[in-house]
């Protein structure tokens, strides 16, 4: 504007100049606006790509290929003459399956062919047969038709047939592919719901791997976290909000809380390793230690949200209670706390969701172990769902990609459930004064 006045332009010239620049200003305005829309679109697109990618990769894992076989529980092949726990433990069910496969495909005679034939069925199938025989002892010496889980290579091949006519071969030879197609045509091969995925622990064989152990581990870890971090967090918030005098010590506590909220999670893992495992010698890989570490990590979140909930309770409530002769403790515990509880619970759920998704600190304290057994308590060695995802993501078998994505879908649905319930809880119970 200064140059306009200096050169003393007429009104006409000023107007012309403004109009000349107006077009470019409007162009800039549009560009700026477009950039904003592009940014939003980028964010939304990222969400969409992420979710379609995961769901596209993982939805296959909820079905599993099974093969129908006529199995003869031959006493001689099994090597047993009666059904009891001891003999079942030694019985050769693998032989029974091999015999059944041999009968179905008598053309496979050479050693190599037989080996290929045997690899159609999962190495976990003998255990299925053992459980069946244990439940029905009268089957010994009889023949029955059962659906047995197929090997993961077969599973991958069958599932990839829907994408392309050729299918993903991998280790599957032409001969084996021919057998599989033969089984498919005669209806002896089907895809069924994958219950194994929800009932089993981890396994090196993709078709036998499940998330049950990891889910239980996550549950125990979260229980420890909740039992410790919620009471401590609420107590700390009450002290800071209702009691703390304004002094240096209180400032120090507040700076610490704010700072801990932004400390990288892996540093908490280092703390857990050095103090809980190395100094106190607590058991490695246990949900107890995992819970302790996650408690320290979620504590700032819970304290901050609990303080906000306490702050939202109007002072008039406190004054009224004080006026009736309540002590300070009674004011807080009888009047303020119940009113602030919904807000605190919301904060706690969000903190728990954060803890459920956390991986890095748990790697430090040894929760990356290969755990097959479902943990039964907080000191049993276990792993958690995110760490299970990390472990499977590293596995070379192609079938694990599918299972990793499926485990991610399970984890995400839990997180969505928790966050939605937090939002609903806030909407339903939160009071506005």
């Amino acid at each position: 504007m200064t140059d306009l006045t200096q050169t003393k332009l007429t009104q006409q010239q000023v107007r012309e100049r403004i109009e000349q620049r107006l077009a470019s200003r409007h162009r800039k305005e549009k560009l700026f606006r477009g950039l904003g829309i592009a940014s939003i679109a980028f964010g939304v697109l990222a969400v969409l790509i992420l979710f379609t990618d995961i769901i596209g990769k993982g939805s296959g894992a909820f079905v599993q290929t099974a093969i129908e076989l006529r199995v003869h529980y031959d006493e001689q092949v099994l090597g047993i003459d009666k059904v009891d726990d001891e003999s079942l433990a030694w019985a050769n069910f693998t032989g029974v399956i091999r015999q059944a496969l041999q009968q179905r495909f008598p053309q496979a005679t050479s050693r190599g062919d037989k080996r290929e034939l045997n690899s159609l069925i999962s190495t976990g199938a003998p255990f299925t047969l053992r459980d069946r025989l244990k439940a029905n002892p009268e089957l010994l010496g009889q023949t029955e038709t059962v659906w047995l889980t197929a090997d993961d290579d077969v599973d991958t091949f069958v599932k990839s047939l829907s994408d392309s006519a050729e299918g993903f071969r991998g280790r599957t030879s032409d001969q084996k592919a021919g057998w599989i197609e033969q089984l498919m045509d005669s209806g002896e091969l089907k895809k069924r719901f994958n219950t194994t995925f929800f009932t089993n622990g981890d396994s090196r064989e993709p078709e036998q791997a499940g998330i049950r152990a990891a889910l239980m581990g996550s549950l125990f870890t979260l229980l420890v976290t909740l039992a410790l971090s919620f009471p401590i967090g609420v107590a700390a918030a009450i002290y800071l909000e209702e009691y703390a005098p304004k002094n240096r010590w209180t400032d120090l506590i507040e700076v610490n809380i704010n700072n801990l909220a932004a400390v990288p999670s892996i540093v908490f893992g280092l703390l857990g390793l050095a103090i809980f495992i190395n100094f106190f010698e607590l058991p490695r890989s246990a949900p107890l230690v995992g819970g302790l570490v996650l408690t320290l990590m979620t504590l700032p979140t819970i304290i901050i949200s609990s303080r906000a909930a306490l702050k939202a309770v109007p002072p008039s409530i406190r004054e009224a209670a004080m006026g009736m002769g309540a002590s300070r403790m009674q004011v807080v515990f009888h009047h303020v706390l119940p009113l602030a509880m919904p807000g605190m619970l919301t904060g706690a759920i969000i903190g728990m969701a954060q803890a459920l998704g956390e991986t890095a600190p748990l790697l430090m304290i040894g929760m990356v172990a290969f755990i097959v057994d479902v943990p039964g308590g907080i000191t049993d060695p276990s792993t958690v769902l995110p760490v299970q995802i990390f472990l499977w993501a590293d596995s070379p078998e192609r079938a694990f990609v599918e299972r990793t994505s499926a485990a991610i879908m399970v984890l995400l649905s839990f997180l969505i459930l928790m966050n939605t319930s937090a939002v609903l809880l806030r909407k339903k119970l939160e009071r506005r004064w």
Binding site: K28, G43, V44, V263
Partner: protein
């Protein structure tokens, strides 16, 4: 006695103590003429006795449980004449003794180990019995003491509230304990590390290969701890992440705050916030299996050499992860800019974008800078994405298509699995942790300070 039974028994005693205190107060009230004659309500007398009964016993039990293993170990190991010199050897021996005592060890054990195992069993049983006896005596004795001391004039409420207040203060100090715990654990191990590797070599060395030689004549395992490649790798991945997150996050915050209609806002804001709730391991999987191959193929088609684990893939996905962080923090500060500033600018004839660029952003700048600093500290400390997508090779490179490694990746690879706490390899992870903690501490401190100062301006 097993610890859970002991806990259950103590809990029962506490309940009994509460009941006794409560009923004594009620009887006293009845005989002396109503509750008014008591100094406090009956439930406070109950709590008073319960606290006397339970608190000291539980404290004793807690301290006992925390230290008994270490003390038993020291006693058992001191009784052994010729024990191994190394920590690892001692650990092995102690594990052997424990297994023998638990009956898990099959095969031959030397008489010395057998004697130690017996000693271990004796000590452990003795410790358990003593702990049970002491805590029960303490609980019953102090509970009885509190019951006997009862009088209607006893100010039970004040005493109970004093204890409760102490509990509240202890909980509030948990944050300080955590910080001190982090500092101590990281600092001590780092100091031990710097005794074997000079700090200058660690900070300025250009070669990182933490494999220590197991034998003296081993080839290629000298163990070099120059952390510069890790620092540059961390900086590169973080810089790529910020290059994505800052413009996108800031622009979407501006659009949502200044342009978007209410309908767009209620849809787009939660969708972008979803990105903040996705666990990092999911981003890692996405980066390693979808983005990295895509970038490699893209680079190949343009005739560039690209590694399958590239800094670009990790940084890009990390940037996506940080977008909601930047956008929600900037949203807060943009909304805190008073409307009068915008009205003034619009009234002078500036367009909306000119108002935003020349008035709103400068006014909100300190807050935005604070938010960006917090985002940087988060990018530096992010672990899973880089562990899964950035690789392990400590390359000193400026090419984002090559694989790099970061401080957090190295901490994870050095510490996953069994560790020996006397090898520089393990201790190096703590030194890296110290660097990480200090740098994020400084960043957070500056950022929180800037944000706080800015907030005070318009409040």
């Amino acid at each position: 006695m097993q610890t859970p039974t002991l806990f259950a028994l103590l809990l029962l005693l506490i309940l009994v103590a509460y009941g006794t205190g409560f009923s004594r107060a009620l009887t006293a009230a009845r005989t002396s003429g109503g509750l008014r004659k008591l100094a406090s309500l009956p439930s406070y007398y109950g709590l008073h006795t319960a606290l006397w009964c339970g608190l000291p016993a539980l404290l004793l039990l807690g301290i006992w449980l925390a230290f008994d293993d270490a003390i038993i170990r020291a006693l058992v190991m001191n009784g052994i004449a010729d024990k191994p010199d190394t920590v690892a050897g001692q650990n092995l021996l102690y594990a052997q003794i424990q297994n023998l005592a638990a009956g898990h060890l099959f095969g031959e054990a030397s008489p010395q180990v057998q004697a130690a195992a017996e000693r271990f069993t004796d000590l452990r049983n003795g410790s358990r019995n003593l702990q049970a006896a002491l805590s029960l005596i303490l609980a019953i004795g102090l509970g009885a003491f509190a019951v006997l001391r009862f009088s209607p004039q006893l100010r039970a409420r004040e005493k109970v509230e004093k204890v409760l207040r102490g509990v509240l203060i202890t909980c509030a100090c948990a944050a300080i304990f955590t910080t001190v715990g982090i500092l101590l654990s990281v600092l001590f191990e780092s100091l031990r590390f710097f005794q074997s590797v000079p700090i200058t070599e660690f900070l300025f060395g250009l070669h990182w290969s933490p494999q220590m030689a197991l034998r003296a004549d081993q080839v290629g395992s000298s163990g070099a701890f120059g952390a510069v490649p890790l620092f540059t790798g961390t900086l590169m991945v973080s810089a790529i992440a910020m290059f994505v997150a800052v413009p996108v996050g800031l622009m979407s915050a501006i659009y949502l705050a200044e342009y978007a209609s209410k309908r767009v806002r209620t849809f787009a804001k939660p969708v972008i916030e979803i990105l903040a709730g996705v666990p990092t391991v999911v981003y890692g999987f996405f980066a390693a299996l979808t983005v990295a191959p895509f970038i490699r193929d893209l680079a190949m088609s343009m005739g560039l050499q690209a590694s399958s684990e590239s800094a670009l893939a990790a940084g890009l996905v990390m940037g996506i992860m940080i977008i909601p962080f930047v956008s929600s923090l900037s949203d807060d500060v943009i909304n805190a800019v008073p409307q009068s500033l915008r009205d003034g600018a619009l009234g002078l004839g500036s367009t909306k974008s000119e108002t935003v660029r020349k008035v709103v952003i400068p006014a909100a700048l300190p807050g935005i800078v604070g938010g960006v600093l917090l985002a940087v500290s988060r990018a530096i400390g992010e672990t899973m994405i880089v562990v899964m997508a950035a690789g392990l090779a400590a390359n000193l490179t400026a090419n984002p298509l090559e694989s790099v490694t970061t401080v957090t990746v190295q901490i994870v690879t050095l510490l996953v699995g069994d560790q020996e706490f006397d090898s520089p390899k393990t201790l190096a992870a703590f030194a890296l942790g110290l660097m990480l903690f200090l740098s994020t501490l400084v960043l957070n401190f500056i950022a929180l300070h800037v944000v706080k100062k800015y907030r005070e301006q318009y409040d």
